[in-house]
């Protein structure tokens, strides 16, 4: 093979692998039946949450003539102690849970990524200080950290988002710092610097894009974890305030009526279970699709 043909091959190779790498990752994700099942479940739950106002009536509509009714054609999942339709409330609950999960993960990303990149890229004293801070946050078990912050901040949607996000920040700082440390030592970074690229350009153009894969995988799993933590706070009566139809809060209220009315606590919990499982399936599938080496290990 002459040097000229090899060069043009590589050239073509580079051009054609960029789009096809993405496509094949997507193909691999879809081909994993379990990940595909997770995507379908997530899609349905997300669609029904978004369409809730079109599909269902008022989730807070009280009906004292229909209190604590078992599942029936009129109320497929039954009614609660105030006669509110549980199917309506479970579907509306998805809006709250998805919203809290998404906001918490975005907030954790917004804080965790810059701190992680700077810690890994700067090294030295900065890195040492940041890592001690992370150690400190990690000394509190995750759920306990969120719970402690709620104790200080008080209940309500905003405080739940903040508490869940803070508990997730150390995960991102560690992850991004680790990726940055690896990327920083690559030859192409040295090449970029030799060509006169500044720190800012190197971080924005080389380091951040290369951190993307682990961050996407982690965020998918983290969405499930955030929803679970928020629901746990709700269950304890320390999350979203009633009458907002949040799954964990509904479950906590339902436990009072458990002995005679099983359905009040059962269905909101089933919804949490399904959403978290779907995020875990998609997250595991994404990891396998985007990072085949990691997938082969487990």
């Amino acid at each position: 093979m002459s040097p000229s043909t090899r060069a043009s091959d590589t050239d073509k190779g580079v051009r054609s692998t960029i789009p096809s790498a993405g496509r094949s990752a997507w193909d691999r994700l879809r081909r994993r039946r379990t990940a595909a099942a997770g995507l379908v479940v997530l899609g349905m739950l997300l669609a029904s949450s978004l369409a809730a106002p079109l599909l269902m009536g008022d989730p807070d509509a009280v009906d004292f003539a229909a209190v604590l009714q078992s599942p029936s054609p009129a109320h497929p999942l039954g009614t609660d102690q105030l006669g509110r339709d549980l199917l309506t409330r479970v579907i509306y609950g998805g809006r709250i849970s998805f919203l809290i999960g998404a906001l918490a993960v975005l907030l954790a990303l917004a804080a965790g990524i810059p701190v992680g990149v700077i810690s890994g890229y700067a090294g030295g004293t900065v890195d040492l200080l940041v890592q001690r801070g992370v150690d400190l946050l990690l000394a509190f078990p995750g759920f306990l950290l969120a719970l402690t912050l709620i104790a200080v901040l008080g209940v309500g949607v905003t405080n739940v988002v903040v508490s869940v996000a803070v508990a997730a920040i150390p995960v991102y700082v560690r992850l991004v710092r680790g990726a940055t440390l690896v990327i920083r030592e690559q030859t192409y970074i040295e090449a970029a610097r030799a060509l006169g690229a500044g720190d800012r350009a190197i971080i924005l153009r080389h380091v951040l894009p290369n951190c993307l894969t682990p961050v996407i995988v982690q965020s998918t799993l983290q969405l499930g974890a955030a929803i679970l933590t928020a629901a746990g706070l709700g269950f304890l009566g320390l999350g979203v305030r009633p009458p907002t139809p949040e799954w964990g809060t509904m479950l906590g209220e339902g436990q009072t009526y458990l002995l005679s009315y099983w359905f009040i606590a059962t269905f909101p919990g089933l919804a949490i279970f399904l959403v978290v499982m779907a995020f875990n399936l998609v997250g595991d599938g994404l990891r396998d699709a985007l990072d085949p080496r990691a997938g082969a290990r487990g």
Binding site: D135, L136, P141, I150, A151, G232, R297, G298
Partner: protein
Amino acid sequence: MRAPLGRYVVRRLLYALPTLLGVTLAVFLLVRLIPGDPARLIAGLLASDDEVQRLRVELGLDRPMPEQYARFLASVLAGNFGLSAVTRTPVIEEIGIRMRATLTLAVTSTALAVAAGLSAGVLAAAYHNTAVDYAVMMAALGGVSVPVFWLGIMLMLLFAVHLHWVPAGGSGTPAHLILPAVTLAAFSTAIVARMTRGSLLETLNLDFVRTARAKGIGEGAVIIRHALRNALIPVVTVVGLQFGTLLGGAVLTETTFAWPGLGRLLVSAITARDYPVIQGIVIVFAAMFVVVNLVTDLLYVAVDPRIRYG
């Protein structure tokens, strides 16, 4: 080269100290972040103005922050977490009473998780890519996804309300421990099973396992006697890390089953805004977690002869 082990242990112990100090500082600062008068918060809503003023001087809340922290740290080190704002009993006594219940639950669940998770993980690896493997992996997926409080309620409905095999909640007899322990163990069991399976599958590809097989040793003996010992090393770490999730799960499990532990006390303290109790329990929980991680790290070194502690 056993000599440096002692030095490693000492260094690892010294390393845990700043973390523990940081925990007390974080908790100290957090409680002072709460809007309002800290003396009023610590005294509780029932205290009179005189009492609040006395407490302010007594706690040194009129002093500068660094001095306040030094005093706080000194009393925490002496085991003095102050008085509960609600019951007026020393916080350390309330913690002492509840500690045993939480430890019983946490230790039983960890033991369950290790026993069940190891067995399931070994089975899945031994029958890799068969129905057994898939069943274990599906169950593990369920275990990491299920909300612990909902699992508890479902088990309670089935085994206590319908079948009447075990009590639905409370404590006192070993039967009361069964449902909370199983509920709390679910997540850790799933993690241990996944880790054991992955680690064992990797080990089974190593040269020394091929040698063992070549010698004509049966597959069962290869797994149990040769591969598992090596595969266990990462599992030890995972069990330690799990302990944090377990403590968080304990708060939810104790509330579900009316189990009289620290977690339930913490939730009622948060509801009652009893800050001295919240402060004490959070410090105790974090300290337990730091200590368990320390023990795990030391165990890890003890288990794996390949690690050079330096």
